[in-house]
Assembly symmetry: C2
Homo-oligomer: 311 residues x 2
């Protein structure tokens, strides 16, 4: 549960969207830093952040925000990380910890590590938490509660810096696991990247039909389709970068998925009811395991209200 003592003196957030703003709220709630400095590329985002108040100081450049910070968290799309690192590298404090929240880790390391000074500890991180909403107004302190955060420290990072960042993420409410960047990228390819890719793809298929109108797709989406559209509404820039930078692992998982789908297609074509029934029965178990592990709600229909809530 939330800590109440500062873990870092100054934390710098570069990027103030859903994740950046949620970290800001959570750090303030827990008193985890004496000062939070923030930077976002867009002037509008900076103004909104200032108004909401989840950072203590807003800066006009990433370098100005990062100067003197003990922990720098890059909360920007993977494609923007290299240029941000180049910009802030000269002003980083000796002994500072550099981290990020990117959904891929090998590509993040390739983009950032070469540009960092030797006296900075680099501990890439990935909180497995999110929502289909984006922007500085969508953040909230509880986003990381009861979720997992994966750390993939580079070899040169000090043990102390890894332990301190672990303590930080636990104070945000998360459980922490440390693994290699390569393994992270395989695990996330199946648990996150492939589901998003499939969701985007079926939404696209549904948009291109002749005999079924778009209004029918929308009207009757409660039959299952609407569940897919939630994650297909996630930030397009972030997801473009994920697929471009975790290409190999995603293509590998996609290949396996296509094989399995073909097998299922064959079972349908040949009316193999037993094969279908067995597969569907096994799927139920996976769902039960996820609920037992506290990674989803057991409320029917995700707990969507049926009456009172404005649906």
């Amino acid at each position: 549960m939330p800590n109440t003592k500062p873990i870092y003196d100054t934390i710098c957030l570069i990027g103030l969207g859903l994740i950046g703003s949620s970290i800001g709220h959570a750090v303030k709630r827990g008193g985890l830093a004496k000062h939070i400095s923030g930077y976002a590329r867009s002037e509008e985002t900076r103004q909104i952040a200032k108004k909401i108040g989840f950072v203590d100081s807003i800066h006009d450049s990433a370098a100005s925000a990062a100067q003197g910070a003990d922990l720098i968290i890059i909360c920007a799309p993977v494609g923007a990380m290299e240029s941000i690192t180049k910009e802030i590298a000269p002003v980083l404090k000796a002994g500072a910890t550099m981290t990020d929240v990117g959904s891929v880790k090998q590509a993040v390391i390739a983009a950032i590590e070469p540009h960092l000074p030797d006296n900075v500890n680099f501990v890439p991180a990935h909180p497995i938490a999110g929502s289909e909403k984006s922007g500085p107004e969508s953040g909230f302190a509880e986003l990381f509660q009861d979720r997992w955060c994966i750390l993939t420290p580079v070899e040169s990072a000090s043990i102390e810096s890894v332990e301190l960042l672990e303590k930080f993420w636990k104070a945000l409410g998360s459980s922490v696991e440390v693994m290699s960047a390569k393994h992270h990228d395989s695990v996330l390819a199946i648990t996150s990247h492939l589901p998003h890719l499939i969701a985007y793809s079926i939404v696209s298929t549904a948009s291109d039909l002749e005999d079924v109108t778009q209004s029918e797709v929308i009207k009757f989406s409660a039959g299952g389709f609407r569940d897919f559209t939630r994650i297909a509404a996630s930030d397009p820039t972030m997801w473009r970068d994920v697929f471009l930078t975790n290409k190999e692992a995603v293509l590998e998982m996609l290949g396996r998925f296509s094989e399995d789908l073909s097998a299922l297609q064959r079972s349908i074509r040949w009316s193999d009811g037993d094969a279908l029934f067995d597969l569907f029965t096994r799927s139920k178990e996976t769902r039960n395991n996820i609920i037992e592990a506290g990674q989803d709600t057991d409320a029917p229909d995700f707990g969507r209200g049926h009456i009172s809530e404005k649906e």
Copy 2:
């Protein structure tokens, strides 16, 4: 909103799972019938239904439950409908309305219509509502609230019988649309059957990995995978029957989906960031349309709680 006058004197529910029990609760709440008779194949289900009390009389056979009823609703898997119809046909009251709640409609008509007497009106129906939960204890009166119900009356059904059933579904809280059985099966193939098939398939893919453990799949499922597992936890018998009986439309939609997925795969392989970005941007619009149409909740993350709720 719920009616308060009986629409039918006696309603017979054959099959008392999620849908049957929900209809029972909703009919009682609205006072839509003077008497509800019920039958389920399993003795255990009959006992539970009796105890919960969403039917007025429980019968040991479908024929006994259906005798004298004004509206008979078959809430059983599609594969069981033909034998049920054969059993009850001899005792059906002249002028009664026969309906069902099956997820496919051409196959239901093929299974039921040949066995019905001429003096019974046959109005197949499909409420687009459901949940991953099944069984007599999972039903609740609000399941059909603000959802759509599709009617696909056969030619010989009287206009009055169609209008009365429409009134009945509106009293359960649904909007009603009338269309041909063939068109229904196309629309549902994309909005419901294909999403379920894909969800089952990706859960299967995730179960067969060597380098990623099952516990990792479960732990990190909040990255997107868990959304797919909800519908992959639906009743296996029902879904086996759906795929066996709506084979053509499902295979057609699956073929289109596979083409689209291959195009996306190609965009990733060739690092075509612009194509990915455009597609992801369009998907966001579909989500917005679904929310505007009241077919899903706009709460981030489906409104799953982040703290207080037992997740």
